[in-house]
């Protein structure tokens, strides 16, 4: 087991480096002259050259990159162009919202999807099963922001049950916080519920067809034990992998969901930053989110290695 974990860690560092290089490249090479952006089109050539000198933009790219990385590692992401704070400060302020949204969505979707998937599998090819499959196919095809809008139309505007926007920190008032999060979490989760449900169902069916399940029955084990002790855990293990793969998508979906529900999270911040051409902020957010995804994937990887006996006991 340990060689696997060590390998994963090395791999992690490598990916982080490549990722940061890509972000740096996008930011500083692709965007055109940042100095011109800062000073505006009407600046003279002299001022531009002077500022470039000042900001050290005439040094070779590698040096610029290393310099930048050394700042990033220390947590210094520069100052925001549009907000009166450092990038790090803004991010720290806003990320709890996004974390709460994504975490709740992941948990919620798994809680709903796994039992539904198993239920559909047991009732294979029945009307219930076919209905569930059809419904999930629909959910996968719907844009999540549209679902958000529809939910707002129904629950906020028509029925006046739930709020359409706003946020209250959890520590200030847990109940209000959760009430405000219901619609966003449901919106973000729907796609994932459909995907996880389908996957659980097909894996469960696959598992039930395997030899060792036949053997378990041949040993006289009761059906309940066969399903839950023998088949279930075998289904969960591949599911872990699928959840890992979808973590990055969860953050992507959060961007849109936060916009629809006006949640003060990183996603909406990113949109604002892009609209406001706030380069350091964009850079910082992308770095932060992607690092979060990579770290989450590491956790999932390690989790997988520990629960699969084939890898754990080599």
């Amino acid at each position: 087991m340990f060689p696997h974990i060590v390998r994963r860690l090395i791999y992690l560092v490598l990916v982080l480096f490549i990722m940061s290089a890509i972000v740096f490249f996008l930011m500083n090479i692709v965007t055109g002259d940042p100095v011109v952006i800062m000073l505006g089109q009407s600046a003279t050539q002299e001022t531009i050259t002077k500022l470039r000198e000042q900001l050290g933009l005439n040094r070779p790219v590698i040096v610029q990159y290393l310099d930048w990385i050394s700042h990033v590692i220390r947590g210094d992401l520069g100052d925001s162009y549009t907000l009166p704070m450092t990038v790090s400060e803004v991010i720290l302020q806003r990320f709890p919202v996004t974390i709460e949204l994504t975490l709740l969505s992941m948990i919620f979707s798994l809680i709903i999807a796994i039992p539904l998937g198993i239920f559909a599998a047991i009732k294979f090819n029945s009307k219930t099963d076919i209905t569930l499959m059809g419904f999930s196919a629909a959910c996968i095809s719907m844009p999540n922001f549209w679902i958000g809008i529809l939910l707002i139309l129904l629950f906020s505007l028509k029925l006046n049950l739930l709020p359409a926007s706003g946020y209250v920190p959890f520590l200030t008032s847990p109940l209000k916080n959760l009430r405000l999060m219901i619609l966003p979490v449901v919106t973000l989760s729907i796609w994932y519920i459909a995907v996880y449900m389908r996957f659980t169902r097909s894996t469960f069916i696959e598992t039930l067809r395997s030899d060792y399940i036949l053997v378990a029955r041949a040993k006289g084990m009761q059906e309940r034990r066969v399903l839950w002790v023998h088949a279930f855990k075998n289904t969960l293990i591949p599911l872990v992998t699928v959840v890992g793969v979808n973590i990055s998508g969860l953050f992507g979906g959060a961007v849109v969901t936060e916009t629809v529900f006006s949640l003060p999270g990183l996603g909406r911040l990113l949109v604002d930053a892009i609209l406001g051409k706030d380069l350091p902020l964009i850079e910082g957010i992308v770095l932060f989110i992607t690092t979060a995804v990579i770290l989450c994937n590491l956790v999932v990887d390690i989790l997988y290695v520990t629960i699969d006996p084939k890898i754990r006991y080599d």
Binding site: I205, D211, V215, R217, A218, K219, G220, V229, H230, N234
Partner: protein
């Protein structure tokens, strides 16, 4: 065993067993009218090519058809006088693993990869004998000893992927015999193993049969095993029994052309081709699609001795000698 002597009825009696499975193109008649009986301490062999239905017989007796297929089961399977086909799953699960047990062909995939060996053996004792964890654990060690697995304690804590094929098959045998079943069905127990291990496993099965006193049904395509380990044999083809009798009768005077061909195709007892399937070089043609069977005698397209009658009318079983039954017009 007292059942047979006290009641005069065989331990297991199968009457007109039919297992039909509907598929897209039609119906596969996997088992089509099988009759046989098994007594105590007996060894019965069921032989035939792959696809002839022999595994289906076993699964039908145990009520273990594949989970998602609708299948039609007809006939009667009397175990100690009670018809198993009338039992529901719950009642059957009391008998499986307990009174009737089965060993399967593929040791590599027959054990649950995420449960320890210990769990997989102990659960049998816990389920059928109602003992607690510790006693089940001890009994499991005992069983592993019976199948000659060294370091039983260590093995109990291991996972299936850490054991070799031969070891896994021994574990399967240990699991099957744990509750001293009255009938053991062994479905190609050695086919997937190395030839050196095969003999060991067969020896083991026979030893244990003597120790425990079980009746065994050997399902195999290998006539060598039939010759060595069984007393009576049924030759199956496309779901039907084409010849039945004592091993002596069949090997001495095979009456059905299929049986004769099978025997001719054995170059030397105990040898097999790379994949463990014997190639029947003497019989022309191949096993037809089970959905569309030939008219008349099912074997006639491949039979060197066929005549007009064989193409048109399906033969019944008739008695050629005492206990020796053949399904043929010749």
């Amino acid at each position: 065993m007292n059942w047979e002597s006290s009641t005069g009825m065989p331990l297991l009696e199968v009457k007109h067993l039919r297992t039909h499975i509907p598929v897209i193109d039609g119906i596969v008649r996997a088992v089509d009218g099988l009759d046989f009986s098994l007594g105590s301490h007996e060894s019965l062999g069921i032989a035939g090519e792959s696809g002839c239905g022999k595994t289906m017989v076993a699964l039908s007796i145990m009520g273990l058809a594949p989970f998602f297929t609708k299948r039609i089961l007809q006939g009667q399977v009397f175990f100690k006088g009670k018809d198993l086909l009338k039992f529901d799953n719950k009642e059957l699960s009391e008998i499986r693993g307990n009174k009737i047990a089965m060993i399967f062909q593929e040791p590599m995939t027959s054990l649950n990869p995420i449960l320890t060996i210990g769990t997989q053996i102990s659960e049998i004792f816990i389920r059928h004998e109602g003992v607690d964890q510790t006693s089940a654990h001890d009994k499991s060690i005992e069983m592993l000893g019976m199948v000659s697995i060294p370091s039983a304690r260590k093995t109990l804590g291991q996972y299936p992927h850490q054991l070799s094929g031969g070891m896994r098959q021994r574990v399967m045998i240990a699991m099957a015999l744990a509750c001293r079943p009255e009938i053991l069905i062994a479905d190609e127990p050695t086919t997937a193993l190395d030839s050196t291990i095969q003999a060991q496993i067969l020896e083991l099965i026979k030893d244990l049969q003597n120790q425990v006193g079980t009746s065994i049904i050997f399902i195999t395509h290998n006539l060598g095993i039939i010759a060595e380990s069984t007393q009576r044999v049924i030759i199956m083809y496309l779901g039907q029994a084409v010849e039945m009798g004592s091993v002596f009768d069949l090997f001495d005077r095979p009456m059905h052309p299929y049986t004769q061909a099978l025997l001719n195709a054995v170059p030397k007892l105990g040898t097999r081709s790379k994949e463990g399937k014997k190639r029947l070089e003497e019989i022309m043609g191949s096993v037809p699609n089970p959905v569309s069977m030939p008219s008349g005698c099912r074997f006639h397209p491949r039979c060197p001795k066929r005549n007009r009658k064989c193409e048109e009318h399906e033969p019944e079983l008739w008695e050629a000698g005492s206990g020796h039954l053949v399904r043929c017009w010749l």
